[in-house]
Assembly symmetry: C2
Homo-oligomer: 341 residues x 2
Amino acid sequence: MTLIPTEYRITEIRRLVDPALHEVLDRLDAGTRLTCGYHLGFWDSEGHFPAEQNLNGKGLRPTLAVLSALAADAPAAAGVPAALACELVHNFSLLHDDVIDGDTERRHRPTVWARFGISAAILAGDALLSLANEVLGEARSEHVPDAVRRLGATVRQLIAGQTADVAFEKRDDVTLEECMSMAADKTAALLACSTSLGAVLAGAPPTLVRGLAEFGNHVGMAFQLTDDLLGIWGDPVLTGKPVLSDLRACKKTVPVVAALTSSTAAAAELRDLYNRPDPLDEGELIRAAVLVDEAGGRAWTEEEADRQLAAGVRALDPLELPEEIRDDLARIARRLRGRDR
Amino acid sequence: MTLIPTEYRITEIRRLVDPALHEVLDRLDAGTRLTCGYHLGFWDSEGHFPAEQNLNGKGLRPTLAVLSALAADAPAAAGVPAALACELVHNFSLLHDDVIDGDTERRHRPTVWARFGISAAILAGDALLSLANEVLGEARSEHVPDAVRRLGATVRQLIAGQTADVAFEKRDDVTLEECMSMAADKTAALLACSTSLGAVLAGAPPTLVRGLAEFGNHVGMAFQLTDDLLGIWGDPVLTGKPVLSDLRACKKTVPVVAALTSSTAAAAELRDLYNRPDPLDEGELIRAAVLVDEAGGRAWTEEEADRQLAAGVRALDPLELPEEIRDDLARIARRLRGRDR
């Protein structure tokens, strides 16, 4: 296999981050370590055999964090604590969100709560959130306090986003603006943190940190909107989630809300379906997906995702990054938008 | 009311910490802020009316944290970020432990999960854990990274302790050593953090930090053992918990395990009761309490708590603290042991 430079760098970054991630887990008590490592795909639920590695969606945030250190002319190692922190926070939120959303499957395996119980999943998430801060505290950088503050602000946004997500399920008057703001909190905030935290630790000037965060914010929006589209029209074999899962859970994702807030006949029919007290059957779920499309929710979301992607890549222009770093960031961004999983 | 110096100082410290705690919550989204403030007793479940303040057990960790800054010859304000961090971590763990243990009442009010649901309680705990690190990151001290690392190590111990606690409920071969180690993780670790983190931020020498942490560790053990005794023989009106709640939940607390591991007839009868598949009725619960006493579990725990208290106070001797700080710390320690709630 021929590696283009981006692939090569991503492989190198994972070679740096993955062993560090394993080491961090070794600090935990045996029970919590088992559940955390199971969640991360390091081993199966017995902890004995190496689990089949499924790297879907994994390594994105660490890669971005290390690239952000490289963007600040620092060595890759300077970005590793940021990479670990972002990956740990991401997985903390997955662990708790799976409990909150009642999701039983992730990455083609039972979720931690489904396999080990709710208590274990809560504690595993707590452990990863705390470890994220601990590894930042260990960074050899005078900018640790700033990094810790930024991570804290990011986690507050994650929590605000998840809180809104839960609240939206019970409301039928969610505006598109609220929905976009929820996506910004739930997803874009941590992407923005990932694309800038390595630079923060490396002592990059504020304009560079801001520009990298802006890039991450837009790309994060593009990523979430793409995810919302896949949550309706994605192939379950590739996404690892049940087909039509977002509609089944009556999630107020962006395509759905864009459809519901359009003044179309399809919107009215979709609203009726979403307001049913009983769960929708398979036929109704498929009909709902068709209605989101007919009401323009799909097209709006596709266009907005493309617009966000373009705005993200544009945000890199004034930063005068080393060319290969700029190319890597732009390439990763495009891939997040074009991905089929 | 005449205030003795300790009371006066505690009141002053609370005057410093409480508004800061309110301010920290203001950073959260409205939903999460409501549940966090409800948990902390700042308002009722609607957020409209000031809740009846019930300060049982509150303010202990912040007070110790500020005293530890004073012990290092720093102004009280230098200890406030440590005070906030310890109080936030304490309440994070209460929020999640209540979900895990299924406890429906705390401080004479419904717990957050019982009132707002499990999702809200998980997110509220997450928020407080993250805020704890964020406020440490804001401390005006060059020792922030050290403080963050110590808080992280403490949270790992909390999680290990809670994980063990959950595991113990399903085991009937828990040793007294395992049980004491669980108490050290669940309770003493955060007390040790509280009695030293202000000194860490103040840049105290390692011997002072170590001595203060040793004091906190012993006092934390005395505190937990006293709590275990109250969990069986405490007055529910004063503890705010249902009568005999620990026995009802078949908790493997220190008095219970000290009794079970004694070679007495009472131990054998107690083991039979604890191994019943069905919940114990009121008569059996009272019988279980009598058996813990007869098997020597109560006396052993009382003596061990006194021993830990004495060791804690002794640990202060070589530290050459200002006399009034030493007296405050010793007085608080004795109160934790002698308290009736």
